[in-house]
């Protein structure tokens, strides 16, 4: 592991990443309320505007929200680069992303072009600011396999956002010059595989061995897998635009993503300290569903009619977003948030005269109790399984959504309680100092 680059003293203020992490479960609840409000029809058609509102509240409101916060935190720590005016940057980015996502989803829900246009403007500003700041930092960073993953993930996000903005222009009828179906597929592939899976892969190289006490990922993988995935995405795009070799590029992407999932599962099986850990459960759940979603999409190459079945895109979306990305993100939050809180309290302790004796700093397991996180995990798993079943047995949607609401509320409770613990201990430290 490239721990020599861990410049922990450069960690930005806690509020910089935390505002993003605390907002994500609220968007999860918002997405659940859409499921509850629209009911079973939301799962029937991917082109349904309510479905678009649902997917964007999850991909922008939860996924991008957490990943943006994580990048603002990890860039200074892992790559040793300082983000200029981090509090201002995070405040603006967070406000723009939150309001932009809300406007966009409202625009989809109400099919109202004014809200879509406001969403278009706000999200354009969000990503212009994000690319300017993060791009500047990523140019300056030390070259490592993690920073390569960050660069390629951010570049993928750029492609995803550009395609998304073009599609929004189409929806708001500013342009009608292209086939939205192909652009939509490329938009979601660059978002879900390019932005999400690439960044998860790069961050996994650091956080899985560090927090789950596993052996390191093989060097060949840490060096080549992310660039290979990126090149495969480019080839996939070309093949989709031209109509040639689509099967080959699909297989290539499937093989590379499977490799990541299988190696992660393998090093987790060989972890050095075999104690129960809820993060491990989230990650294993995520990797298994990544494999299942790859299996499902690869099946369409053998049995093409599968791709035309109404349930296929919904099932694939639920497996990939709900089964892979969201669990991995939740698992990461359960490690990163307590670790950051502990780290910041430890740094504050340094400013007090005797760091050992004055105030007891809660350790990571006290910041978020494993038992509470475990309850939340199992409720999420139950809600997820019932959501898949609801594709065929539609009445199950309401029970599934209720469970998912409880699960996201549990996640919010655990994260907000952790924040409260931070503030109360921080107050004690300052009182001890004065």
């Amino acid at each position: 592991m490239n721990v020599a680059n861990l410049a922990l003293q450069q960690t930005p203020p806690l509020s910089v990443p935390l505002r993003f992490f605390l907002t994500a479960p609220l968007f999860g609840l918002f997405a659940c309320s859409l499921l509850m409000y629209y009911g079973p029809p939301i799962l029937l058609n991917r082109w349904n505007f309510a479905t678009l509102a649902l997917t964007h509240s999850l991909t922008l409101g939860v996924m991008t929200m957490v990943m943006m916060g994580a990048l603002l935190q990890l860039l200074p720590v892992l790559a040793g680069v300082t983000i200029p005016k981090p509090k201002w940057v995070s405040t603006f980015l967070h406000a723009l992303l939150t309001t932009g996502t809300l406007s966009l989803t409202l625009g989809f829900m109400l099919n109202y072009s004014l809200y879509l246009t406001i969403g278009l403007v706000l999200l354009s500003l969000t990503f212009i600011l994000f690319f300017a700041i993060i791009g500047y930092c990523l140019i300056k960073v030390v070259h490592s396999h993690i920073t390569i993953a960050m660069r390629l993930a951010v570049f993928s996000l750029f492609i995803c956002v550009s395609l998304g903005l073009i599609l929004l222009l189409f929806l708001t009828q500013y342009t009608t010059v292209f086939d939205p179906a192909i652009f939509t597929n490329l938009h979601l592939i660059w978002g879900l595989i390019g932005w999400a899976a690439l960044l998860i892969t790069g961050i996994a190289y650091q956080v899985v061995p560090m927090f789950q006490i596993t052996p390191q990922y093989p060097q060949l993988i840490t060096r080549w897998l992310v660039p290979a995935l990126f090149i495969s995405l480019l080839l996939f795009t070309l093949s989709n635009l031209t109509g040639y070799f689509t099967s080959i590029t699909t297989i290539l992407l499937s093989l590379e993503l499977s490799l990541f999932a299988l190696i992660t599962l393998s090093i987790q099986k060989r972890r050095l300290r075999k104690l129960p850990d809820v993060t491990l459960n989230f990650w294993r759940f995520g990797m298994i569903h990544l494999l299942l979603s790859i299996l499902l999409s690869t099946l369409t190459l053998i049995w093409q009619p599968l791709a035309t079945k109404a349930f296929y895109p919904t099932l694939l979306g639920i497996l990939f977003i709900g089964g892979f990305i969201l669990p991995v993100i939740q698992g990461m939050l359960y490690k990163i948030v307590p670790f950051l809180i502990w780290l910041h309290l430890q740094n504050q302790q340094l400013n007090v005269l005797n760091p050992i004796q004055l105030v007891k700093i809660p350790n990571m397991k006290q910041v978020i109790l494993d038992k509470q996180a475990r309850y939340q995990f199992w409720i999420y798993v139950s809600g997820f399984i019932l959501l898949i079943a609801a594709i065929w047995i539609t009445d199950l949607l309401y029970i599934s959504t209720t469970l998912l609401i409880i699960s996201f509320s549990g996640l919010a409770y655990n994260l907000y309680k952790a924040t409260w613990i931070y503030h109360s201990t921080s107050r004690q430290l300052h009182e001890a100092k004065s």
């Binding site: 592991m1 721990v3 020599a4 861990l6 410049a7 922990l8 003293q9 560090m210 927090f211 789950q212 006490i213 050095l272 300290r273 670790f339 502990w342 780290l343 430890q346 740094n347 340094l350 760091p355 050992i356 350790n363 990571m364």
Partner: protein, 86 residues
Amino acid sequence: MLAEYSLDVSLLEPCEPLERILAALPQLPTGHYLHILHRMEPHPLYPILKQLGYAWITQVGQQVELFIWQQDDHQAEQSVKTLLKI
């Protein structure tokens, strides 16, 4: 008598290693040093050690080894340097 106190934190997840090290330091008698086995370089520990008045040497190999002693304890310092042939 061996001047070394050993502590293996290599199988502990963050933040346990730092907590164990901070708990072990006050029990270090004069003339003794703490030898720590770690999986990674403990960057957050260094400023704390500095503030508490400890000196240290880190050796990064397959495993990370840390040798910590009180800054003004020349006997412990000498033991570490003899051990590491510095």
